[in-house]
C-alpha cells in the first residue's frame, strides 16, 4: 500500500507535479514534507484526505488519497 498525493491549480504549477505516491506518512503535514521535499507551505494551504477537507495535523493511513490545493475560486 502507499499514499496517493495530489496537487491542484497554482500549487500544482509551483510544486511542478500533480500526482505522486509516497510510501508512508503519519499526518498530512508529513505527506507534504515528503512529497514536496520540504517546500515552504503557503499560508492558505488547503488539505483534503480521501475527498474530505482535513487539517495538516490530521492522521493519514496507508491507501489514503491526500490532496493539497489553494483557496477555491469556482462559481
Amino acid at each position: 500500500m502507499s499514499i496517493q498525493v495530489k496537487f491542484f491549480a497554482s500549487l500544482r504549477e509551483q510544486i511542478g507535479q500533480s500526482d505522486r505516491s509516497i510510501e508512508h506518512a503519519s499526518t498530512a503535514d508529513e505527506v507534504w514534507k515528503i512529497a514536496t521535499n520540504n517546500a515552504e507551505q503557503p499560508d492558505n494551504l488547503l488539505v483534503a484526505i480521501n475527498l474530505e477537507y482535513a487539517k495538516l495535523a490530521s492522521p493519514v493511513n496507508d491507501g489514503d488519497e491526500v490532496a493539497f490545493f489553494p483557496p477555491v475560486t469556482g462559481g
Partner: protein, 144 residues
C-alpha cells in the same frame, strides 16, 4: 436532486427547464429560485479573454452532492439542481447554475443563496484567467 459538471457550454435556462420537465415535479412547488454565474469579460478591472476552470473531479462531485443534501435538510426543498462548467470557458458562458424548488418562496430563495455562497467558498474549483499580460490564477473570490 442533480449535479451536472460539464466540460461543454450549456444554456442555463434550457438546462433548468429540462430538469423541471424530466424530474416531473408535479404541482406541489410554488417557488423556484435560481442563480446563474456567467463569465464576465473583466475581473479586478482587468480584461479577461478566456478562462480555464480546473477541478478535483471526485471531490467536487462529492462536495456538491453534500451541499444539496445539506440544503435539503436545512430547508423543505422539493428539488435542487447544481450545474458547473469546467475546462475552457469563453466570456458570456454560464459557469454555475443553482436552482431550488420548494412549496414556498422563503425556502427556495434562502437555499439558493446559501448554496451559491457555500459553493464559491468551499467547492474545489479553480479559475485561471487569460489576461492581456498573461495567464493568472484567480486568488480569491469576490465578496459578492
Amino acid at each position: 436532486m442533480a449535479i451536472h459538471i460539464s466540460a461543454h457550454t450549456f444554456e442555463p435556462w434550457q438546462l433548468i427547464s429540462q430538469h423541471e420537465t424530466q424530474s416531473n415535479l408535479g404541482r406541489q412547488f410554488g417557488a423556484t429560485a435560481t442563480f446563474i454565474g456567467s463569465m464576465r469579460d473583466f475581473n479586478d478591472d482587468a480584461a479577461v479573454t478566456e478562462m480555464v476552470l480546473e477541478h478535483y473531479p471526485e471531490m467536487t462531485e462529492r462536495y456538491l452532492k453534500k451541499l444539496e443534501a445539506e440544503a435539503t435538510q436545512k430547508w423543505p426543498l422539493i428539488d435542487c439542481l447544481i450545474a458547473h462548467r469546467v475546462g475552457h470557458i469563453k466570456p458570456a458562458d454560464a459557469i454555475v447554475v443553482i436552482a431550488c424548488w420548494s412549496a414556498h418562496r422563503r425556502a427556495a430563495l434562502d437555499a439558493c443563496n446559501w448554496l451559491i455562497e457555500e459553493l464559491k467558498f468551499k467547492a474545489p474549483f479553480w479559475k485561471k484567467e487569460a489576461r492581456p499580460d498573461g495567464n493568472v490564477w484567480v486568488e480569491h473570490n469576490t465578496a459578492g
